[in-house]
Amino acid sequence: MTSTTELQKIANQVRRDIIRMVHAVNSGHPGGSLGCTDFMTALYFEVMDHDPSNFSMEGKGEDVFYLSNGHISPLWYSILARNGYFDISELKTFRKLNSRLQGHPATEEGLPGIRIASGSLGQGMSAALGHALAKKLDSDNKIVYSLHGDGELQEGQIWEAALFGASRKIDNIIATVDYNGQQIDGPVQKVNDLGDLKAKWEAFGWITLEMNGHAFDDILKTMEKAKSMTGQGKPVIILMHTDMGHGVDYMQGTHEWHGKAPDDELAQKALEQLPETLGDY
């Protein structure tokens, strides 16, 4: 078991990677990436049962993960590299010509760890449910995980998937929502209010949990609980409370850094807040 101190160390380095990656190409999405760093660190380094050294598209006998909010790709790439899916040196190719690390995740270049393209929002839950159904057909009792933005929940396809998952009793999926309350044009509540999100998911027939996305003990405890609730005839979703931009003071809690890279000075300021714990790529 990875200790929370160890997870914190990894998350620190991942946050450094994110800042360095988006700064290097002056583009990308740091806000959501930083906000989901603690969750993704816990998921890949502790929660999921998977084999980074032997990636297979089908993921038979393994837990698999679908990233639906594909714009937080720098986070996913850093996690995958730090977890051993590919060499960390490849992180420097992010968003550059001929790279496997596309602006939004893609399968075309064969980057280990990526199972489907995402970026156009709202599609990942359907794919995750499809994979979960296939696992059931194959009598594979592993779990399908997915991550979604809260703004993304404004897409209609999410609610088609929500209906389908419950009506089909797909109970081997644990979806998580990055509930940071921010989207490109401002607070989600102002742009297109999601209302009582917990009540909505419960009304759709999903087991709905909540957790603090910046407290490793709560993340681990809640994920354990979620796992224990699989196999009960209902899909599981976790509303994860986060701050967009968590870990960098001037990015925290605002939508301003959703899709903007820091300049030299601000990147330096961010990196000063994020000590190098595992060695930069």
Binding site: G124, S126, L133, L137, F164
Partner: protein, 317 residues
């Protein structure tokens, strides 16, 4: 060659249903999905025989395409099925990102394409799908011409790795493709041998093209009828070879001229062997309610129109 008999009248969608049932027997990775149109897509027998591999998706096509993509990721061969308008334009972005760009082994099966849908009218008469689908990298696009060819195409699609768009029609149409005629994705079929004009036809326009060939023969013109069942990848070699011999060409399809097979053929010939060309198809207009035959006549998609076009293009040589 040159003589085709109408053995029966059947809808191409029934060829899909029959083939799906057959291939599912030998391949347990095949799964069927349908968005509340099981009867229309002729999936009832499959659903009954393999209930654990049939997934009723309800009226939510976007989700169905995504679920199919996820199943394919896990190694299944999903056949998500619905009407052509719901299986192309309505879910273009889902197909583009989750299936085509992600190169998933998904077979998108659509029926009730084109004007021959009939009375339901323009909302459901999808005439742009081949164009949308052929523009997607990784996508194979197949538009079979009769019941027999639809069975062959369905089986071939299951064997082929990668995304495929398969298009069927609603009404009963002549069944004339011999059961022993070889079918290979991407390979055109030369249905008649001729020297004066090439007629390139797809889908429901192939039988009228054969009839046109007969009528042209009576006028002393020998037409070479080529059936393009695979819109993409296009068999450019067969097209160029034929036109090099006949020096003129007519294309015929139940689809919008913009973005259709004719446009692909024109593209090919412009690059390789420019020749006088006429195109039969729907010309930048929506359809309307009516009987299939009435609609095909009103919108100029009959054997008579093919004959006229052939004479016109023949005299332009």
């Amino acid at each position: 060659m040159n003589t085709y008999k109408v053995r029966d009248h059947k809808d191409t969608r029934s060829g899909y249903g029959a083939a799906l049932l057959e291939i599912a027997k030998d391949n347990d990775q095949i799964v069927g999905l349908c968005a509340d149109l099981t009867g229309s897509l002729k999936m009832g027998d499959f659903a009954k025989a393999y209930p654990e591999r049939f997934f009723q998706s309800g009226i939510s096509e976007a989700n169905m395409m995504g679920v199919a993509a996820g199943m394919a990721t896990a190694g299944k061969i999903p056949f998500p099925s619905t009407f052509a308008n719901f299986g192309s334009g309505r879910v273009y972005d889902q197909i583009r990102q989750s299936i085509a760009y992600s190169n998933k082994n998904v077979k998108i099966c659509v029926s009730h394409a084109g004007l021959t849908l009939g009375e339901d009218g323009a909302t459901h008469q999808m005439l742009e799908d081949l164009g949308m689908m052929k523009m997607l990298p990784n996508m194979t696009v197949i538009n079979p011409c009769d019941y027999t060819q639809t069975m062959q195409a369905t089986k071939a699609a299951a064997e082929h790795y990668g995304p495929v768009y398969l298009r069927f029609g609603r009404p009963k149409m002549p069944v004339f493709i011999p059961e022993d005629m070889p079918f290979k994705i991407g390979e055109a079929i030369k249905l008649t041998q001729g020297n004066d004009v090439t007629i390139i036809a797809t889908g429901h326009l192939v039988w009228p093209a054969i009839q046109a060939e007969q009528r042209l023969k009576e006028k002393g013109i020998s037409a070479e009828v080529i059936n393009i069942h695979t819109i993409k990848p296009l068999d450019t070699k067969a097209i160029v070879e034929s036109v090099k011999k006949t020096h003129c060409v007519v294309t015929a399809e139940e689809h919008m001229l913009n973005g259709g097979l004719g446009e692909s053929v024109a593209h090919t010939l412009a690059k390789n062997y420019p020749a006088p060309m006429e195109m039969i198809g729907v010309d930048d207009t929506f359809g309307e309610s009516g009987k299939p035959d009435e609609l095909m006549e009103k919108y100029g998609l009959t054997d008579k129109n093919i004959v006229e076009a052939a004479l016109k293009v023949f005299h332009r040589k």
